[in-house]
């Protein structure tokens, strides 16, 4: 047991996967000599050589399309998109080929690739470096969308992503890269499709994923002072989605707040809220609420704190969960 950062855990996962399977190749922009702008691929070139870890031309559609072809030749590419918003040029390759090739060919071809996307904000990044783009991928059938919130999950989920027979968009919350925890690697946590109750509670369920999980945990801690005992569910994988764990939690608590850093409209949180009310209507004492980023382009660094869901905003939402069985005054205006 020792203190490990999420960045180190991701690096270890890549290193171990490459050691275990020589079909695994890692490539992208600056992933070789530099070790990636966040150092996630640090040392892989030295350890495994140019054939297994290499820099590419600066072209994201090219990187993902090249990975598709390499996967067709029997390899297992793990590619890095340097930042969330810089992955957009690859979107056609992802949506039209990566996601669909298995389906188009009735299983004759598959695309077992991992597309690593450092995402979301909270790091003071200038524009185009802080997007929460998980919704685009989650809305695309054929992709798995994974986002760790803890150090052991970072290791285990990335190993599982690389071993998975389907393409995985692996969303790494940038602001958690250098958060550390006591962990022993290698480690195997719960598999894809399984959400985890990070903190049990009786009064309401906070559903979170990736960068919003620490916010939810902090809010749950603060809520104790207000007399609320909150449960926190960490989704871990957005696709496949674990209805069972989320539903069981909300049926127990009767109240639910969904937290996401991404802008709210038509987002993953909206899907979760809809699923919860479809499945838990008779257990609910209040409408399912969402706490999300604002419906604005990601703000400049000095204003990102206004945009990001924080503990106060989560507690405000919890306070509106009709504890006195009174309607939410916000919806009563004429």
């Amino acid at each position: 047991m020792g203190t490990v950062t999420m960045a180190k855990a991701l690096n270890a996962a890549l290193r171990d996967a490459m050691a275990d399977d020589d079909r695994v190749v890692v490539f992208g922009e600056d992933v070789g000599q530099l070790g990636g702008v966040f150092r996630i691929t640090d040392g892989l070139l030295a350890a495994y050589g140019e054939r297994r870890c290499f820099d590419t031309p600066l072209a994201e559609a090219g990187i993902v399309g090249f990975a598709v072809g390499m996967a067709m030749s029997g390899l297992r590419p793990v590619v890095e998109m340097q930042f969330d918003a810089f992955a957009y040029p690859a979107f056609e390759q992802i949506a039209s080929h990566v996601a669909k090739l298995r389906n188009r060919t009735r299983g004759a071809l598959s695309v077992p690739i991992v597309i690593r996307v450092p995402y979301a904000g909270g790091i003071g990044g200038v524009e185009h470096h802080c997007d929460s783009s998980e919704g685009y991928y989650a809305h695309t059938p054929g992709l798995k969308v994974v986002t760790p919130a803890t150090v052991p999950d970072a290791y285990s989920l990335l190993r599982e992503a690389i071993a998975d027979p389907d393409p995985v968009v692996f969303m790494e919350p940038k602001k958690l890269y250098f958060a550390s925890a006591d962990a022993t690697l290698p480690v195997t946590t719960e598999p894809f499709g399984r959400a985890v109750v990070r903190r049990p509670g009786r009064d309401a369920t906070l559903v979170a994923y990736g960068p919003s999980v620490p916010v939810a945990l902090e809010a749950a801690e603060a809520a104790r002072g207000e007399g609320w005992d909150l449960e926190v569910v960490d989704l871990r994988t957005i696709v496949p989605f674990d209805d069972e764990t989320v539903t069981a939690s909300v049926r127990r608590t009767g109240r639910c707040v969904v937290i996401q850093e991404a802008q709210g409209f038509a987002g993953v949180g909206a899907e979760i809220a809809a699923r919860v009310q479809e499945r838990c209507f008779h257990s609910l004492h209040a409408p399912v609420l969402r706490v999300s980023g604002l419906d604005i382009p990601y703000p400049a660094p000095k204003l990102e704190h206004v945009h990001l869901p924080d503990v106060d905003r989560v507690l405000d939402a919890v306070a509106r969960l009709q504890w006195d069985d009174q309607p939410d005054p916000r919806w009563l205006a004429a």
């Binding site: 390499m70 056609e92 188009r104």
Partner: protein
Amino acid sequence: MTTTPPAVRRASPRTRRAAAPPDPARALLPSPQPVRLLDESGARIAVAGYPEPPTDSLRELYRRMVIGRRFDLQSTALTKQGRLAVYPSARGQEACQVGAVMAVRDTDWVFPTYRESMALVSRGLDPVEVLTLLRGDWHCGYDPAARRTAPQCTPLATQTVHAAGLAYGEAQQGRDTVALAFIGDGATSEGDFHEGVNFAAVFRAPVVFFVQNNRYAISVPLSRQTAAPSLAYKGVGYGVASEQVDGNDPVAVLAVLTRAVAHARAGNGPFLVEAHTYRMEPHTNADDASRYRDGAEVEAWGGRDPIDRLETHLRGLGVLDDAAVAAIRDEAEAFAADLRTRMNAEPTVDPLSLFDHVYAAPTPQLVEQREQVRAELAAAAENKEVAG
């Protein structure tokens, strides 16, 4: 008054004798005019560097082109009868469609677009499986892994990058596979074309990029795609050897593609070929070509018919006579008749198969949706029985 001119202006004999450094771009450039080994009447032209392919190959090329055209005409007819949802014809492009696939081995990979149905049939794929996409049964009817042929690609130019990745991956694993990527003139404007060519060049991947310039991207003429003197010039900027060829000259197409494939297989990196050809039919049956090109132009291209040219050449060589031509035509008719019969059968596609290949194993949500559709279908079947 006398002046002495500055010495620097005078080139010394030594300087004049020194050879200019070799221009690395020159070796990559295509021929200034498209390579042509048969003129429009089918008479042979000698061109240095391009020996005539073996006569047996040319006879086979002729045979496959005749069958390919018959397949194309049949497919257009099937579309008019409502058997196909849509058909993008390649009539007029037979030399390109057949010549290119004849230049590669069965173990090589082909990356076709939607217009390559004829090429795939010529590669030996089952025509019914090839037409599955256009009949609307599924997105790809053949087994791409078994046939080493990617699904026909509808998003433009995206397959060029796959070809680069596949070729590189094969080479990395010690196999001498070549990837042949088909692309049209319009798609060379897409970013993925440039990324595919660049990736292949940087990683010296054995890819042949084969551009069939049929002069129109649906309605938009080549002049709106590029200001380059030839699409083959797009190779030099990426360090890729290139050539242009008369795409209605089957002998030249086979000769140039054979050289391109050998170049790639020998480890010299990718090769880019532009074939100048013409689509005799509209973009698809849904298109009206009279809105953007005139009949005189179409007629002029009809005079450069690739099958007629090769037939003239083979007859001149004394390796094709009336009896042989008739036998090949009979074979093409039999091929079309068989295709008609098989396409007239109405296949049923199990709606529940929609859920089979979204993921290797379905998500819980897909299991739920599958059950819902199964119940709907069962209810509908029951209602039909009651009503009947």
